[in-house]
């Protein structure tokens, strides 16, 4: 089943006085349960592509369909709804709400979804245990290490049972050992819960973990291959 479908997507940014063409005629499709890495040098358009797939930003031309929903005619609040229920995000850094504890950060999404308190609490505990943060529920982000913060971010991204998780350079600010731990967790989630994962990265290790590697250079799709392992 197709999870993501991009057809001839174009996106141009205004940066100062110059127009930067971030994406040029990008078409690709990703099916449910994939574990995909989008790689490329910085400025190649990876983040833009992720933002577009997540509905954070709108295309100039072309079409994006996620889990059967075409973004073409969706309003801001419909997009917010889609992000809430279908998409999970993990960003590079500054990812968590600093005034909320680890548990509250995770719980927040379910709050937005309107789940009952009892269910929220059970799931928060379960998911934080899953990502290896037993006993750290009440720590604030400032009291957690970078790797721990990213694990909370992953927990938050998947706690709402999304169809797809978008992770923008999740390991960029982590050392390689911590990054590896994070990837293992994501991989586990991918396998256990059949959640589609899409990363952007220029980290060799992340690319090794991915089962499919999409390469972007200067806003164009340069390579797309599925690894056999």
């Amino acid at each position: 089943m197709r999870m993501v479908e991009c057809i001839k997507v174009n996106k141009t940014y205004q940066q100062g006085q110059v127009n930067v063409r971030a994406l040029k005629d990008v078409s690709l499709s990703i099916v449910t349960g994939e574990f995909v890495a989008i790689a490329g040098p910085s400025g190649s358009g990876k983040t833009t592509l992720l933002n577009l797939i997540g509905g954070l930003d709108s295309v100039d031309s072309g079409t994006i369909v996620v889990d059967g929903h075409s973004f073409d005619q969706m309003s801001q609040s419909q997009l917010a709804d889609l992000r809430l229920n279908k998409v999970g995000f993990v960003f590079q850094a500054y990812n968590l709400i600093p005034v909320l504890s680890a548990a509250e950060n995770v719980e927040f999404v379910m709050l937005l979804q309107g789940l009952p308190a009892k269910e929220r609490r059970q799931r928060v505990k379960a998911i934080l245990d899953d990502v290896g943060l037993e006993g750290k529920y009440d720590r604030r982000p400032a009291e957690l290490s970078g790797g721990q913060q990213q694990r909370v971010a992953v927990a938050r991204a998947i706690v709402s049972n999304p169809s797809i998780v978008l992770a923008d350079e999740p390991t960029a600010n982590l050392d390689s050992k911590t990054g590896k731990g994070l990837l293992q967790i994501m991989k586990k989630m991918n396998e256990e819960k059949k959640i589609t994962f899409i990363f952007s990265t220029h980290d060799k290790m992340v690319m090794d973990y991915a089962r499919r590697l999409i390469l972007i250079r200067d806003g164009r799709l340069a390579d797309d291959r599925v690894k056999s392992n």
Binding site: N51, G54, L56, D57, Q76, S77, A80, D81, R83, L84, N85, V87, G88, F89, F91, Y94, N95, L96, I97, P98, V99, L100, E104, E107, F108, V109, L111, L112, R156, A157
Partner: protein
């Protein structure tokens, strides 16, 4: 506690220094307003009470036009009938009758014009403070007939002492010459120069004889149980008066009509006070607007993330408003509390204004002023602060709605 409130509360204390300064600004303005309004209301009450208790009373029943013309012919012909009506009205505390006639007043070697007032010695005590204002001699007694009370300044102008004789010469109600000789029994000082310079009191019976008034009087002066009952009393009197003589209608005037200058003076003072307070609150609002703005712009990234994970902008606005309004409420309550305490202190101890006594005695206020705390004075100022800060907070809170997640997250 809902997560929104929790977030708002924790956000407030992310920068305690800034928050405390902001709360201080709000508390300061609330405190000031509580005190100033109490001060204003306190002085109004003193002014009203002084004037009411010395001159006008809360209400008067007069012949129509008497208030403007003060002509001796315009009388209340049957005061006993009015008295009967007043007896039946529950909120009336006391009433008295007065007659007034402008006359030439001569001592041994001086002559001045003055208003001779006939008062009922027994009833007057319940209505005015005149008895308490006697500085020399004593108040009129029921049996007195040819005795008079004189204001301190008039006594000085006429070179009068207690026991001196005084000739009154005026015109009676029927146009005849009215003349009599009285002795000074008491000299009073009310603090209102105008009154002390131009008034003489004699027993009402004597007045009615000398000025050929028969049983008529000019004013029926009424004191209500409290200021707030006045409108009701006025209404009941008016209803009942119409049953009396329809040929010569009587008029009921309240203190505002009897002393229009006093009422307008109070209004003017209130209006100018409002202008001051409004400008003050405006300055405060702009001073704290920056705090509210910063609370948002330094968290732009955070809002980006919140929106990315699906938070609706309306919810962010809500959290921000809870934040700023919590600060405002803390400030306002602290302000009301401290303002009330300061006000209560001065309410019991008074504030010394002896340096301005020439000025204040004109308004019937002595050298000490007492602010008066009331629900109105404690709440209305801070309420205005609340509303203006609410608008100051609304602007940044609504600005969040226009943020787009991608741009927000790119911001540093």
């Amino acid at each position: 506690m809902s997560i929104d409130v929790k977030m708002a509360w924790r956000n407030i204390w992310r920068n305690p220094r800034r928050t405390i300064l902001t709360i201080c600004a709000i508390a300061f303005s609330s405190l000031l307003l509580v005190f100033m309004l109490s001060f204003q209301f306190g002085s109004y009450e003193t002014m009203i009470n002084t004037s009411v208790k010395i001159q006008s009373g809360h209400l008067q029943v007069q012949a129509e036009d008497y208030q403007d013309k003060k002509t001796i012919r315009l009388v209340v012909p049957n005061p006993a009938a009015v008295g009967k009506i007043l007896e039946k009205i529950p909120h009336v505390q006391a009433y008295t009758f007065r007659g007034q006639a402008f006359s030439l007043v001569s001592s041994k070697d001086r002559t001045y014009g003055a208003v001779v007032t006939g008062i009922d010695p027994i009833r007057e005590i319940q209505v005015s403070r005149l008895k308490k204002l006697i500085r020399q001699g004593s108040f009129l007694a029921e049996s007195d007939s040819d005795q008079a009370l004189v204001g301190k300044l008039l006594a000085r102008n006429l070179r009068l002492e207690l026991g001196d004789e005084l000739t009154l010469l005026g015109q009676g109600r029927d146009g005849s010459i009215a003349a009599t000789v009285v002795t000074v029994k008491g000299i009073y000082s009310s603090g209102i120069d105008e009154f002390d310079r131009s008034a003489i009191q004699i027993p009402l019976k004597t007045f009615q004889n000398v000025y050929t008034m028969d049983d008529a009087v000019h004013e029926v002066v009424i004191i209500g149980k409290s200021l707030s009952d006045i409108a009701e009393i006025k209404h009941s009197i008016e209803l009942n008066l119409s049953t009396l003589d329809p040929q010569k209608p009587l008029k009921t005037l309240d203190w505002e009509e009897l002393m229009p200058g006093l009422r307008q003076g109070i209004e003017m003072d209130l209006v100018s006070g409002m202008i001051f307070y409004f400008l003050l609150i405006l300055v405060v609002a702009f001073s704290i607007l920056n705090t509210f703005l910063m609370a948002i712009f330094e968290r732009t990234r955070e809002f980006g993330v919140l929106m990315a994970i699906g938070t609706a902008p309306a919810r962010l606005t809500k959290v921000l408003l809870i934040e700023s309004m919590t600060m405002t409420m803390i400030g306002i309550f602290a302000g009301i509390l401290m303002g009330s305490m300061i006000t209560l202190y001065f309410q019991t101890h008074g504030i010394d204004f002896s340096g301005a006594s020439e000025l204040l005695s004109q308004f019937g206020i002595s050298g000490r002023m007492h602010p008066k705390l009331s629900v109105l004075s404690a709440v209305s100022g801070p309420l205005a602060v609340f509303m203006i800060t609410f608008f100051a907070a609304l602007y940044p809170a609504l600005k969040v709605r226009r943020m787009r997640p991608v741009e927000a997250m790119r911001a540093v």
